[in-house]
Every structure is written in structure tokens, then in C-alpha cells.
Subunit: 402 residues, 4 copies
């Protein structure tokens, strides 16, 4: 009889390296899977290390373009910010990683999937709900949550089992990164009164160290997709990475957030999203120019729900499909060019233009070219204000009588 | 028989000066009313000028603190941004000006009220709906909309009637200002691809000209009201003006917005709101610390509706009372201190603390002080993900069968 | 030089018959267009009458199935009720009629379109906005609003011009009808304290006169579309008409509504929608069984917005396309059968079943077949209640200290 | 050293009687508390029985009027229906019962509170979150969830301990009742295709058995509070009970609902709410007459959130305070009289009148008394439709060019 097989989301760090060993002791053959979603990993090193610490098989998958096209793009087009602030960095990669884990599990005939999350974060929820949605028959194991060792106990176990201890283990921070940004928590960041120190950041320079001259770039969008920078076309994942570089150089996209986790606590997180912020700001400006008013005013309701849904680990819910159908329908009008100035931590949209622009200079102007019928305003105001006027007449009279 | 009397919102500029004369020719005694809502007017000059151009009486009213307490404060506590961008500068002052006009009309036994708006902006709607809500029996006159003269015709009329022509008449811009900020439109700003030139701004320096050293200030809030800066208490109107100064010095609060007017067109506006932006950002950080999750997640729905309502001229609707009741109920928890760094156009909240803080370090920490029950997560995730799991089981099976 | 041509929405009644003559006198050739959207008109009679009263051409168009498929169906699937009450009868047909008018205008090379609405209802808005959306170059004429005659003046004009006066002219009511229901206003209905008299109704019997035995029917839905009654398939328009018959016989679907018109006034309307109400109730029950919770809880937000949009005449807004994309995405799960009992004015869903049912008897049951993991609830409740608990700990302590 | 003391929510049924014994065996002194929230209990019998089965103290509390004033009234004024259907019967009583349990716990110096819920319903969540909100230091025990016996094991234990077995134990149903209605689940109701049998109902007759003559009643509201029936004033709890009687006699208020529980499953419930339904329908009609449009259109958003909050056990969240502040602010206008016909399962509002009525017959009428300015509609429609028109011009042109 063959041994049970588990597919483990493997990062190369201490927790998941120990997990390979620990799962093996629980009687599993461990298949390691490492995804590159744009964090710039040394995939060869990680693939080899998984085998070294005991995995029976080790996959590395470049998922950058899939992540950009299927996850980051929806987030951009809907402009999902959790709590009006955080552009959903880690929350976006979890469903894709889960999908790849399930695919490998099917390929390897594994009966279980494992992840390295603890029991107090959001990511455990995202992994487990996503995996159950994709294949409810798979068992999900969370070794770190289950063994509940202290840091010292974990290191002792690793030493005993000859698992290499990473040299950056002393970092006080816990970092996750992908194309759409970098998240950091723990250490001094757990004090919300303390300013985040410079060593908490990895993608951006400080405003103090940003250059004294700006860069001005033009980004072209076709149907809500950013396709080129200064006329040069890029695949979406490369375009985002390029904006991470140039935005990071100017200190764009630092976010400091005390947020409400799904699991019921507040936590303080620091994010860096240079490319995401440049694109999110540019996309809004282009929509401000091209979307009709009632659509522009309702879309934020969709975005807020989508943000919560993604944050809360429900990417594979049919509600996401419906919200996505709404968003995609709106993007046909979002064509044009945005000019962005990057300077001292800012991404300032200085100009926007579009063949679909609903800004009509002849209607908007106060010059002699004016084609707006000002007399129409009289009738408009009369009916617009009529409910308020009737309310006032009735209830003022009431007040007098009472 | 006495002549009809009209109360005119008087600014001292050309349009309303001509309106005094024009209304007089229509058979009205004109009572001029000028409010100071924080724009730094020379009230004595304006009061005298109204009489000089033909008004029978001339009022000047310092409404700064009333504007701060009754209008700007609600906007701050709800954090109302129209279209997620514009903090409602002019839209906030219109109902207060309307209220004062109606009060003077009652005192002067006037039968009509007049304003200087054209027929294509939002302000005509705000004035007229507010006045009708406060006293439906008052006639409302909009001379500028009615006479529909070209600029040249208006100047010719003014010269003929010996109305002084202001020296800044050649400015291409149309500006409105109060405590909460400054709005600018027209001229080159009507081209949304053109960057706003420096002469379009009046309250802020450019980022290029901002100082190379930051200022760091601490703002204390009591029940959602900012009460002091660096420990020094101020009346709210003075506190906002002080933040306008210091924020303006650092280039904080420039906004460039292509927005949807109520009257059906898009227009491009440039705003400067240094004090407002500093306070709005600080207030959010304090709420992020002190409001419970489900409240924090629903309040933006209230804010969006309130923003639209105010923008659309419905301040005196009973819906505003109800939205305000919601907001005020929430502010009892918003006590504490926010530390803000002003630098190169940024107002960065670096720290926040509160006796009502719901951030619990013992729950949030990843250190050994952890008091969060990680095992609870297992049950939580099981039930949280159950609907998605059942959906998947049922509909995957369906797919297979079909 | 040829005369100008106008396409008139022609009903065969007095107003539009007079309009043919009046428009002719304004110098137009009048092309009459009459649509059948399910109100059971004598189309031959109307086609002939249009020519008799002076039209140069007369079209009659059977649009019942198009109305059912493209307009009523979306309303059913979204379950749009204006103000949670009125299933949008007339509001649904106006965009379709506008579309046909524009199509005929293009075919006939007409430069104008005319409708018979007065100046105080919603329908004028719906026609004019729809026509402008479909072809902004067309002139829109509203003869009844323009001539502003009293009833007596209109009749005098008709007699003078030999226009036949309909025999039901003395009816106090103003009725509009289509597949989706019948709307009635005016006369005694203008008193909201008065009960609607029996002669106000045309599609339904009173509950007092409804049969003492019920009918029980089964309706099958495929992807949110009702396709058969008791196993017999029907085209959608016929299915609705059949339900109007059987529902009307049992007194189902009377609605008495004091509603807020778009033009700023409240009006009292009486509706009869037997088929619509049977389908709307059945569809909800099937969705309650088949939609996952978070989708079921968000869809009403979409429906409310869609209801307002349609009521307010914005059918051809791109917002409708986006809302429709959301709704259509959700309907793939809405398959199954609903059993409805029709009795004494009620349409009671007694049973519902579906291959996509998410109701899982083994999870829901309290019998020994229970497969729900009750121990998971402990962890769930702990984290679900954690924010409230922390709020209480912090703020109770605060209260004690203050 | 004194024993630990627990306060148990005691109903007199088998589960909580066994719980007294079981908790005693766990080392607790058990204090029983039974509330009357309108279900018509024999309180003397229950008080005595608690002592008989081993409680050290036994409280009975008449909480009917407090329940009506503080819980049912808010639900009425907000018109909270969970999933647009269920008027929140049990969900409303749980926070009040929790409050009383905590008050008794403080009085008795108890350290724990216990309830008789199982691990798969909503009520466990409502009790535990409410108790934690009111006093986070109290331990909460759920004996039925903890012992996880089968029905047979429980009965065997009861017999062994001489706990009386209720005679209605063989009922297949699980019932909860209060002033606001009666909830029933289990047995044949677990099949959503089966019609609920007559023995599932306890407050209402079937439509078949309802009288052939209607009753017509008039209900007066003052600030949103129903105060009298046919001119006779009643305390709110008595008014609701009286409407339960008369509504029940006519078969009003049966609801059959497949609903989404908070704990992740769908369940099928049958409710009877005769008084609640009569009041909810009457209240809507009065608001339709008296609330200004924009308020009437936004209030449902508040109601939906409040419904979810209450259903989900978050009554004591500060979000409820804020939502309640909104609702209460709106009720000042809800004064007047509603005439309701009760007949064959219907509560039909036939007439409504109010001194605050915003229905203005002179504006609404089509008779010669018309005071509505129809010419204003022309300008209104022009600006109302302008965004759609511009969108059409721009994007139709686009389509042609592409």
C-alpha cells in the first residue's frame, strides 16, 4: 500500500522547511510547490532545497503573467482597496497559489494540501476556503498552526533534523511579496504609535532620499488594461514590475495601515505598492473622464464588496464571478492615455485624454463657445428641489400647528 | 406702497455689483449680504462697496466658526469626498449662506433672495433648493442666469452705470474659497490633458518649492472633533486656518478633478484643501484604531450618500438629519492623538494612539505575549467556508452530470 | 422640397389621434407606430384609424416576445420592484417603444419622434432620454405637453377636425398595460385614503369573488428563465399571459402604491400584475434554494439600483449593461421547479426543488443523519464575536475611568 | 469555599431541565431564569419546576413590554426582514434574554451563564456574543452542545435522574415564540419540496378556514409608534398581542422560508407573524406617504444592514446604535392613520392619511386644480438625460470609427 501524499506550499523559509520534515513524520510523502508571483525568488535554490529537506518531489512555477492577468488586473479595474487603503497584495495571490496546489495534487494523486500559515492571520482562511472550493475532497493541513511550537522549539527541532536555519532569521519582520506589492508586519510595527523604521521597507526609497527631479511617464490603457509606458508595449506582469522600479525609485506607494482582520483582531501592516498605486491612480483618472455619471457613482459599491470578498478569502465564490462580470462590462470605455508625474513619493496624474472622453469642452466651457442650454436649469432645479420644498411646506406648517 | 425688497448674496465682484444695479432697475430695493466663511475677505471694503453700487442696506457676517462647527465638522467626521476625491469645499458653504440670506430676508421683510450664479454650475441648485427648503414663500432670482450677457455686454453695462470694474478681471479663473479649501476652474483648466499651471493655485506652494525639512505635528481629537495642535487648543475655525497655513507651506492638499456636475456635464476643477486633507487623513487613522470592524465597514456607505446629498444641494433634506444622526453616534469613540508629518506635499500619519483603541497588542502580536486562541481558527474557517464548499460540491457535481 | 417627417407613438386614443392632426398642422408628415406589448389591442383597427385621422403611414408591430425576452425577463431575474412594491410595468415598455420609434424613424427618414405624454409623469422622461440615447440627432416632440389644452378645448378641437371621440372617454382613469401588468391612476385613486373601487381593476377579480378552490401549478425554470407550466413549455410571452389569466382568476397581484415620481411629486397608482407576481415569488424561492449566501445577500443592492435606473428612464445607460451582466452571471444556478398554490389573492410557494439546491438535508437536519460538525461552532463564535468583545472590554473600562 | 454559580436560561423543557442536573454535576449551583417575551408561558409552573429539577434559585421575569419597546419597535420602524422575508422573531429576543441573564448573574454573583442551544443554529451565536458584549468576564456554557447526546441518551439520563419527561416530547417540531411571532423547524419541514402541514402552525388558521367576512381596522401611529387600534389606545405589547389575535383569526402572516444561517448552512423555517406583518405593512404605507423621496430610497440600505446585524447576533455592536440613531431620526414624520382590511390571509392597506403627508393633491392631480408646472419638465429632462446623451454621441461615434 502506497503512502499518503501531501502537496505543500513551499517558500524555502524555516517554517515550510520544518513542515516538510514534520509532515513526513506524520506519514506523508511531501510534494513541494513554489510559485513565483513576482517576488523575485531564486527558484532553482528553492527547488533544490525542498528536496534537500526531504520532499519527494519539488515543483517551481512561474505564475507571474497569470497572476497579473487574472488577479491583479481585476483588482486594478475594480480599484479594490480594503478599508479604502490597502490594495490587497497577499489576498490576491492566495487563490492563485491554492489553484496551483490543487492542480499539482490532482497530477500527483495527493489526498492532502498543506500551507505554512499560523492560526491568527487571514491567509489560513484564504488558502483553506480556496482549496475547499476547488476540491472539497482534499484534506487541508496547517502544520505551523497545529504544532504550536515557540520559535525556540521550532529551531531546536530544525537543528535536530539537520534542517538549515536561514541567515535572516533574526529579522523582526514577517514579509510577503508579489507583483502587486510587498506586505510587512511584526516587530516594532506592532506599536501603532511608532513610525515604521526605514528597514521595514524593501521596494521604495524614503521621500527624503527620493530624487530632486521628477519623471513624467505616459501610460496607455486599452479597455481598462494598461498596455504601454511611453509608447513601449509590455506584457502586463512586466509593465507592473517596471512601474515598481520607477515608482520605488521615487518613493511612491508606501502605506501604513491599522486594519481589521477577518479573524476578529486589528493588526498594523506596512505595505509598498509603487506600481499598483501608479496604475490605480491612473485608472481612476481615465474612468473619471470616460464613465457616465450614474455608472461612476455605483461602481464603488461593487468595488467595496469585491474588496471585502477577496480580503475575506472568497475569491472562488460565485459572487466574485458576478462582480467581475459587472466590472468587465464597464471597461470597454476605459481607453486612452494618462500622464503621470512621479516625484517625492507622489504619482500625480497631470493630464488624461481619451477617444471615449465624455468631457465635452463645448458643454463645459465658460467661453463664448458654450453650447450648454442654461435656461434648462430653471426647470431642472424646480423639479429637483420639489420634494424638499413640499416637505418643508408640510412640516413647517406642522411645526407651527403643534 | 413700498417697493419690493430682495436680499442679494454679495461678493464685491463684478457680477454681484452689476446685479445690485440690475435688480434695482427691475424695481427692487437691494439688501446686500456678504459672509466671511474663511476666505479672508476685506469685509469693510465689501460692505461699503455694496452701498456705493446702489444697495439700500449692506450686511457683513462673520460666519467662520458656525461654518466650521455646523458644516465642515460633519464633512470631516463623515469624511465626505465627492467621487472619492473632492472634499466638498463650495458645496458646504452654500447652505450656510442660504440660511443667512433667509434670516436677513425675514429681518428686512424682503420677498425675494438673489444669488450671482450662472445657469450651468452646481451652486445655483444648492442656493435655490436650500432657500426653498428654508422658506418656500421666498422668490429666488438669479440675475446672471437671467440677463445672459456676454462678458463684453456686462462690462459695457457696468461702465454705463458707473460700477467699478475690478482690476483682476482679466484672470482666466473662477475661484471660490472658504475655510475648508479653495476651488478653481476655467481658463486653461478646461483642458483635462493640460497640467494646472502654478498661477492656478493660491493656498499652497508646489512640491518643488516645498521646504526640505518636514514639520511633525500632533493633533488631538475629542469625540471626533480636532481640538488642539501640539497641545495648544484652538476654536475649530482657527485650528483649520492654522492647518491651512502649515499645510499650504508644505504643498499639502492639491487636487485635480474631472468631476460629474449635478447639471449633467463633466467639468475639470482644481482644489486646494491643506487643512481639510490633514484632518481627513488624521481622522481616518483614529477611526481605524477605534471603530469596531462592522461599523468601520458600513460607515463609508453613509459617507458616500452624504457626499452626494451635499454635492447635490440637498443639505436641508431630512435625509441629511438621519445621516448626521448616524455619524454623530459613532464619534463618541474617536478620541486620541494622531502624529502627522508634513513634507513635500504629503500629510503622513506616522502614529496614532487612543484610550479607546481596539488594537490589542496581546491579541495582535506574534511574540510570546500572544493571547489569541489560534485553535479557534479551525472551527471558524470550517463554518466561514461552508457555503462556498457546499456550492462547490453541488455545482461541480452538476457540471459533471450535464 | 419634401416636408419634415415625424414618427408618432400612436395608441388609437384621443390624445394621439388629435396629435396626428396637430403635428400635421405644424408642418409634419406623421407616421403612426403602434406596438403590441401584450395589452391585447385591436391592431388592425388602430392601424386603420391612424390613417383615417391623417397619418401618411401607419405601422403596427407585435413586440410581445421581444418585450418578454429583453425587458420583462431582466426585471424578473433581478426581481426589480420600485420602492419594494411596484414591478415596473410601464417603465419596462417605454425603452422598447422608443427603440421601435427610432428604427421606424431611420427607415422613414424622419427627423423627429413624438409621444403623447403629459408634462407631469415619468413616461415623458423615459421616452425622451431613451430616444436621445438611441439617436441624439432626432428631435423629440411632446404635443400634449406643448398644446396644454384643457380636456374641453381638446374635444372641441377634435370635433372641429372630425377626429372620432372614443366612447370610453368618460372613464375617470388613465390606464397603461402590457404583458407585465396594468397600471391605473386618476379619478378617485387620487385620494390615498379611499380604497380603490372595483371598476379600477381590469385583469383580476376581487378576493371576495375569487374561487373557493385553489389551483396548484408547477413552474420550471432553466437558468432563471421560466420555461414551462405543469410540464407544458411556452414561449415566454405566452407563459406570462397564461399566468396573467390563471392568476387574475384567483385575484393575484393587486398593488396599491403611493409612489415617488422622478419629477418630484408623490402619486397614487393601482397596479395589477398577476403573472409577474407569480413569477417573481417563484423565482425568489428558487434563488433562496440555489444561490450561495453572500451572493443572495448582495444581489438586492443590484436590484434596487436597477429598479431605480429603469424607473428613472435610464434603460439605455451603460450602467444597465453592467447591472445586467451581474444578474445574468448569477442565473446559471437558477434551475428547478417551484410549486405554487393560487388561492384568494395569494400565490403561495409551497415547495421548491433543484439539482443546484444548496440546501443539504444532511447538514440541516436535527435527526441522526446530521453531518454538521457542531464543535466547529465554538471556534467560529469566538472569532465572530471577538471585535464586539474587545470593543466592550475597552469601552466599558473607559466608561468606568471617565 | 463557596461553589461556582451559573445562571441558566431556563424554558421548562427537557433540554434545560436536564441541563440543571448536568451543570450541578459539573460543580455549579444553578440559578434558573425564565423570561416571558410574549409566548404565553405558565410562569408559575416553570418557576417551580426549575427548583424541582435542582436549581438553587429560580427567577421568572415578565419582559413583554420591554421587548416590545426596545426590540420589536426598532424592528418595526426599520422594517427589518432577513432576506426580505423573515421579520427576525427569535433573533430579536436573544439579546434581551442575554441582558437579563447577565443582570441576574451580577445580582447572584455568578461567574457563568448557560443556554440550551445546540451547535448548529444561530441562537448560540446570538447568546454568546451578546453575553460577551455585556460582560466579557463571564464564562458561557452550552451544555446541549457540549454533552452531544442522542435523543435516546438524553432521555435515559433524564429518567435516571428523575427529571420529568414532557408529554409533547414526540412533537417533530422545534418551536420558539414571542410577541413578534412564532418560529418552527424540523420534522417534515426539513424537506423544502413538502408543503408545511397544518400541525406546524400554532398562531394562525389556514386561509381555507379563515372567515368569509373581513375585519377592517384603523391603526394610529405617533412618531412611528403604533398607539391605538380603532381609536382605543394600548401599551405596545398589548397592541401587538391583540393584532396577533385578530390577524391569526384571518390567517395573516404565515411565512415559509429557506434561509441562510450564520453558521454556513441553509435551513427551512416556517414563521407565523400576524401582528408583525399587519404593523410592518401599515408602517410602510405611512412612510410612503410621509417620507421624502431620497430618504425613502436610502432607508432600505439601513434596514438591510440592521437586519443582518440582528440576525447575526450583533445587537450590542456600536453599529446598531448608529443604525438606530438613523432610524429614530426619521420617525418624527411617521404620524397618521392606516386602514387595514384583514381577509383570507391578507392584511391589505386600503387607505392612509397623515398631517405630515407629502402627497399633495394639487400637484398630483390631472384635474383642473393642477398646480404642477409642466413646462419645468422640459428643462429637467434635458439635464437629466444629458450624461446619457453625451455618452451616446461619443461612443456611437467611436463605434463608427472603429
Amino acid at each position: 500500500m502506497s503512502k499518503k501524499k501531501v502537496v505543500l506550499a513551499y517558500s524555502g523559509g524555516l517554517d515550510t522547511s520544518v513542515a516538510v520534515q514534520w509532515l513526513t513524520e506524520q506519514g506523508y510523502d511531501v510534494v513541494a510547490v513554489c510559485l513565483d508571483v513576482g517576488e523575485g525568488k531564486d527558484l532553482d535554490f528553492i527547488q533544490a532545497k525542498a528536496l534537500q529537506v526531504g520532499a519527494v518531489n519539488s515543483y517551481v512555477i512561474d505564475a507571474k503573467e497569470e497572476f497579473a492577468q487574472e488577479y491583479a488586473l481585476l483588482s486594478l479595474q475594480a480599484r479594490t482597496y480594503y478599508e479604502n487603503k490597502y490594495p490587497l497584495v497577499s489576498a490576491l495571490s492566495r487563490p492563485l497559489i491554492s489553484k496551483k496546489l490543487v492542480e499539482v495534487a490532482h497530477k500527483e494523486n495527493a489526498t492532502a494540501v498543506a500551507h505554512g500559515c499560523t492560526g491568527k492571520g487571514n491567509d489560513q482562511v484564504r488558502f483553506e476556503v480556496a482549496i475547499k472550493a476547488l476540491d472539497p475532497s482534499l484534506e487541508v493541513i496547517a502544520p505551523v498552526r497545529e504544532w504550536s511550537w515557540s520559535r525556540e522549539e521550532e529551531i531546536a527541532y530544525a537543528k535536530e533534523k539537520n534542517i538549515p536555519i536561514p541567515i535572516d532569521l533574526e529579522s523582526p519582520y514577517s514579509v510577503d511579496q508579489n507583483l502587486w506589492g510587498r506586505a510587512n508586519e511584526c516587530g516594532i510595527l506592532e506599536d501603532p504609535w511608532a513610525a515604521p523604521p526605514e528597514d521595514a521597507f524593501g521596494l521604495t526609497v524614503s521621500i527624503e532620499n527620493a530624487p530632486d527631479t521628477s519623471d513624467v511617464i505616459e501610460i496607455d490603457f486599452v479597455k481598462g488594461v494598461p498596455v504601454s509606458i511611453d509608447g513601449q508595449q509590455y506584457p502586463l506582469s512586466e509593465l507592473i514590475l517596471k512601474l515598481n522600479d520607477i515608482g520605488g525609485k521615487h518613493g511612491v506607494g508606501r502605506i501604513d495601515h491599522v486594519e481589521n482582520r477577518l479573524v476578529g483582531i486589528k493588526s498594523r501592516e506596512v505595505y509598498e505598492c509603487p506600481g499598483a498605486i501608479i496604475l490605480l491612480k491612473s485608472h481612476k483618472e481615465l474612468e473619471d473622464l470616460t464613465l457616465v455619471k450614474e455608472l461612476a457613482h455605483f461602481k464603488p459599491i461593487i468595488s467595496q464588496k469585491l474588496s471585502e470578498l477577496i480580503y475575506n478569502g472568497l475569491w472562488f465564490s460565485p459572487l466574485r464571478d458576478a462582480l467581475e462580470a459587472f466590472i468587465k462590462e464597464t471597461q470597454q470605455y476605459v481607453n486612452g492615455t494618462v500622464r503621470v508625474k512621479l516625484f517625492k513619493g507622489h504619482a500625480i496624474v497631470e493630464g488624461r485624454k481619451s477617444a471615449n472622453s465624455l468631457y465635452d469642452m463645448n458643454l463645459a466651457t465658460y467661453t463664448s463657445d458654450d453650447s450648454f442650454d442654461q435656461s434648462a436649469a430653471v426647470g431642472f432645479i424646480k423639479l429637483w428641489g420639489l420634494p424638499t420644498e413640499v416637505h418643508s411646506m408640510v412640516n413647517k406648517k406642522q411645526t407651527v400647528k403643534n
